[in-house]
Structures are given as C-alpha cells and as structure tokens.
C-alpha cells in the first residue's frame, strides 16, 4: 500500500521545523538576521514608522502644553479614544503572554517559533497602552504620586485602593514588569549565542554584558528551566487577571451597558482574539521579509487562525448574551442602551464591530482560509479593526446618552486624538522593527529543543 509511505505521526503533526534544519543552521539563520544588513523592506517600513512615532511625541507635547481639552473627551463622553486605545493595546499584548506562558504549560511545542516575537509585541503594546492613562492625567511627571502609593509632601493623602482604577494601575504595571522579566530570561541563552558568534569587539562586549556570562551548563539550565516554568505559571493567572481588572473599570460602575458580570471573561477572550490577530499580522510580514518560512510554518499560522476562530466565536457569543440579558433584566435603561448601541447614532460602529469580529473569523472554519497567507493577513487586519471598534462601542454608546436626555451628546475625535492613536502605531512598529533588527526574533535555544524532539521522533526513539 502506497499510503504506508506517509508516516501517520507526521501526517497528523507536520514537523514544526522544516527544510532539513540542523542545530547550527537554526543558529545561523536566526543570528544572521541581527548580524547582516536589514532587507530593503525594513527601511521602507521604518521610513513610515519613525515619522509616525515623531507625530506621537508632537501630539503628546501639544497635549501637555494645552491640556486635556485638545482631545475630544467632554461631557457626556468623558472617556473617549484614550481609554479605547488603552484597552485595545493592552488586549493586543495578551496574545504574547498566552503564547509564552499558557501554551508553554499546555506543552504546545508550536509556540517556540513565535513566542519571542509575540512577547516583544506584548511589551511594546503595553508601553503604547500606558501612554494613554499617563497623559490623561495631564501632568505625567506628577502621575507617579497619583498612581502609586509614593509618600510625598505634595498631596499628604493616599490612593483609594477600593477603586478599580487603582487595581488597574497595579495590574498593568505588574503585567508590564513580569512580561519584561519573562522576555529577558528567555533571551539570556540566545544573547550568549550572539556573544559567542560575535567577531566585532563592540558587539561582543554588548552581548557579553547582556548575556550576563551565561554558559549553558547543566547546573544553570536546571535553575533556568524551573525559573521559566514558575514564570509561566505566574504569568498565566496574571494575564487572565489583567484584562479582568481592566474590565472592572467598567463592570464595577453603575452604567447600563457596563454594569455586567460577563465582562471579565468576555474581555479576556476579546484580548486574546485581538492579540492573535496582531501576531498573525506581524508574523506573516516578518516571515516574508526575513524568509523564515521553514521556522514559522503554515502549521504555526494555521494554529493561530484556529485560536482566532475559537476566541472570535466566544466574543460573538458574548455580544449575544449581553443583548439577551438586557432584555431578560426587564430594566428599561439596560434595554435602551443596547437598542441604542445597535440602532442608535453609533450603529455604524456597532455593525462594523459585528462584521469584523463575528463574521470575519468564521472564514477560518475552512482550511483554505486557514492556510492562505493573504486571506489570514486580510482577516487579521479586519479583526484588529473590529476589536478597536468593540472598545469604542462599549465606551461611547454607554456614555453618550445617559439618564438625562438634555445632556445627550455625540463623541467627535479631534486631530490630536487621531494623531496620538496613529502615532502609537508608529511607536509600536518602530520598537518592533528595532527588536527584529537587533535581537534574536525567534527563541534559538527553544527551537533547538523542538528540533531535538523532532529528530528523535523521526528516528523512532521513544521519548
């Protein structure tokens, strides 16, 4: 039978590293990206990203000089694009932690080719998110006294720890710190590889310092692996807590449309959904620019499409549940807010959200879409847009028509709102491109671990 030629194991589990890779070819391929000159596309994207990042700094300087009034936030919509963008960016970061921590605990070996870049994405996304609440204080240089319990003579008072906004400060800053630690710990062995390969003394010194004198000895790996496992174990509940706490900012209020217990799981699913969309957007581009098709295979991308399908469907289900509960609550304010959401002045935003978040991912039921790069790239862009609209819809529609019809309004963003948002994308892209250029974008030592397992499986060695 000809069928016997196909090993059922490889049929079900296609190899995660292809192209006849060896340990040294993995080292060479990934290190070469940081050692050689970047490809032309890198300069092209950087040429777009840096001016946008500059625009961000310009907008922020303008805001600090003139006050928060330069944003469109005003009564009744006191939270506008700033918090929308904050939640959007934080959500994007969640995929990085999910890939690095949760998939690690579930022993999903396919995570190894994408975890490093996804973690970097988390850090940069959280940095972009942090800009919004920080600058919404108006005087960011004093924010440390307002946000953190720093003893000082300025206020002679303490924060209100019973407020979800304080929980959010602790959740987001803990998340940023732990993600940075996790990322750096993962980088240490790879930085040692770059140090050992370096021929230029400056490069050797820089990577020598960054790699802390890592030797890869068995006794070091022993502590290292446990530290990695513990960090994964800590990051897993952490990532679930962060978006739950972000959702508390809304859920613990008494606003119709916000005051719902479904928010924490619904926000977490949405965060993972948008984060995976961003990972797919970035990874399809990075693998094309750097020719990493043998390391980031279709199998990796297909798995991410499946995650988007699952989380997108959860999000769609949550939208339905919200409507059902609004009707079932028999509360006229709750019913009004949801009817207004779907058919009021923001109907255009609501239906954009539904099309992008509920309908778009359904294409991933078909293998043809899950394995087509242009299809998944396009759909991931739609999902990124849809998830931004989700936050905007939740925030704007609940606020713009409050209990007193005389104070109803309609939120209009200003040029500063738009400039700041587009600017954070520039900052994010700049940081991501610098990361691709100067640090190993794929976890070299982890890919070798997977390759070792794969070689043994091919040889038929029981593992």
């Amino acid at each position: 039978m000809a069928d016997l030629a196909i090993d059922p194991r490889t049929e079900l589990n296609p190899p995660l590293v292809t192209g006849g890779a060896t340990y040294s070819s993995v080292t060479d391929q990934i290190s070469a990206i940081t050692e050689g000159k970047p490809p032309k596309q890198w300069y092209v994207v950087m040429g777009v990203a840096i001016p946008l990042a500059m625009m961000l700094f310009g907008c922020l300087a303008y805001l600090v000089a003139n006050g928060i009034g330069v944003w469109g936030n005003n009564s009744p919509v006191g939270w506008g694009w700033d918090i929308t963008n904050f939640v959007w960016w934080i959500g994007i970061g969640h995929a990085g932690t999910l890939i690095s921590a949760i998939l690690f605990l579930f022993r999903q070996k396919w995570r190894t080719s994408i975890n490093r870049a996804a973690e970097a994405m988390t850090l940069f996304a959280v940095a972009c998110a942090g800009i919004y609440p920080l600058f919404h204080t108006g005087r960011p240089w004093r924010a440390i006294y307002w946000l953190f319990p720093m003893p000082n003579e300025l206020l002679t008072m303490w924060q209100n720890f019973r407020s979800p906004l304080m929980w959010d400060v602790f959740a987001v800053s803990t998340y940023a710190t732990v993600s940075a630690l996790f990322w750096f710990v993962g980088l240490v062995p790879d930085l040692a590889t770059l140090r050992d390969r370096a021929t230029n003394p400056v490069r050797k010194t820089i990577f020598g310092i960054l790699s802390l004198g890592w030797r890869g000895s068995a006794s070091q790996w022993r502590h290292y692996e446990l530290a990695y496992l513990i960090l994964a174990g800590l990051s897993t509940p952490l990532v679930l807590s962060v978006h739950s706490i972000v959702s508390f900012d809304f859920a613990t209020s008494l606003m119709p449309g916000w005051h719902t217990t479904i928010f924490p799981p619904y926000f977490v699913a949405g965060a993972v959904f948008s984060g995976f969309a961003m990972v797919v957007t970035l990874m399809t581009l990075a693998r094309w620019v750097y020719g990493l098709e043998n390391l980031i295979t279709i199998k990796h991308l297909e798995n991410m499409c499946k995650v988007m399908l699952a989380t997108g469907t959860i999000v769609g289900f949550a939208y339905g549940t919200e409507f059902f509960i609004a009707w079932y609550s028999a509360n006229q304010y709750e019913r009004f807010i949801f009817l207004n959401r779907a058919f009021g002045p923001y109907a255009w935003a609501y239906w954009t959200m539904i099309s992008c978040n509920v309908i778009a991912p359904q294409f991933f039921w078909f293998k043809k879409f899950r394995t087509s790069i242009p299809a998944m790239f396009t759909l991931s862009i739609f999902i990124n847009i849809g998830m931004w609209f989700e936050r905007f819809v939740i925030i704007a529609t609940s606020l713009h028509r409050d209990f007193l019809p005389s104070s109803w309004g309609y939120f209009q963003p200003t040029w500063v709102d738009i400039g700041t948002f587009v600017g954070t994308m520039g900052l994010f892209l700049t940081l991501f491109l610098l990361f691709l250029r100067f640090l190993p974008a794929i976890a070299i030592s982890e890919v070798k671990g997977v390759l070792h397992h794969q070689i043994n499986t091919e040889k038929g060695v029981a593992h």
């Binding site: 720890f161 929980w167 446990l226 960090l231 807590s241």
Partner: protein, 193 residues
Amino acid sequence: MATSLLARLGLPGFGKETQKHYGVIGNFDTPEDLLRAIRTARAAGYSKMEAYTPFPIHGIDEALGERRSPLGRIVIVCAMVGLTGAVLLQWWTGAVDYKLSIAGKPLFALEPSVPIIFELSVLLSAFGAVLGMFALNKLPTYYHSFFNYTRAAGASNDRFLLAVEATDAKFNAEDVKTFLDSCGSRHTELVEA
C-alpha cells in the same frame, strides 16, 4: 565584603585558590552521545562533572546526580512577602493613616483588596524567580575558566560538551583525556583555570 563580592563576580585575582587547570572538556555530536558519556563517566567513578549544552537536555540532571533546584522555595517566600505587604499597604493607608469614607463602604475589607493582593504577590514572586535564578546561577559572572576552552562557543550553537573538573578526586589530565576520547569526544582539551 568587597573582596567576596568581587570573587563572586569571578573577577580575576579574587578567586578562592589559584588552581592551574579547570579540567578536561570533551566535545560530543548529539545529546544522546553526551548522556552516554556522562553515564559511563559516573560508572567509572568521576563525580565533579559539568555539561554545557545549547538547550536543556532532559535526563541530564539525573545523569549528573544533581538535586532539584531550590528556586521554588525562594519564590514561595517572595509570594508571601508580596501578599502580606499588599494587605498591610491597603489596610494601613486606608484604615489607619488616611481614613476617607466613600459611600459608607468599610475603610478596609478583604474583597476589594483581592486584586492588589494578587498582583503584588505575582510581582514579588516573579522578581523572586528571576533574581533567585540569577543568584543560584551566579549571574552575572564576569569570568569563568570554561571559556578558556578553544571551542567553548560550540556550547551555544550545536555542540554538547562535558567537563571533568580538576577538583575531582580521581582527576588525572591524561587519563581523563583518553577516557573522553574513548566515549566519542571529537575534540578533547585540557583547559586552563
């Protein structure tokens, strides 16, 4: 104090004793060859050994006779400090030092304190895991004689190295060299301290 700190960093001239050789290092093609060499060496009576590999190899700790890492205990202590600190912070600032009644809610209660208790426990645990791992691994290290091995760079690429250290009771450079060669080492070398 300063001297011991410099010695801990491995700065030259601050070491414990001036030892001439680090040991003999053998160079293997695959993790399986390395594991086989370690087991043979243990059977032959060598005990002070260290393996250097580009990625963690399962079963190597058992083969080398290493014990479980104590990192978990460090992290538990850090988590407890974070937990206690978060409770004290929220109780003292809210219910002792700056009493502010908001909507008649209690000045301190456990329920609204849970998020920050959780976050601070995780934060301190993560620092404990990372800094604890660095301390156990003596990182950052300025100098280590392993790097005197001419092919040390292989350990971060595709080679699997086994060092039999000079501190081993049974250590004799010529014997160890012959032994590692017989195990299939591709490049065996006596390494300076």
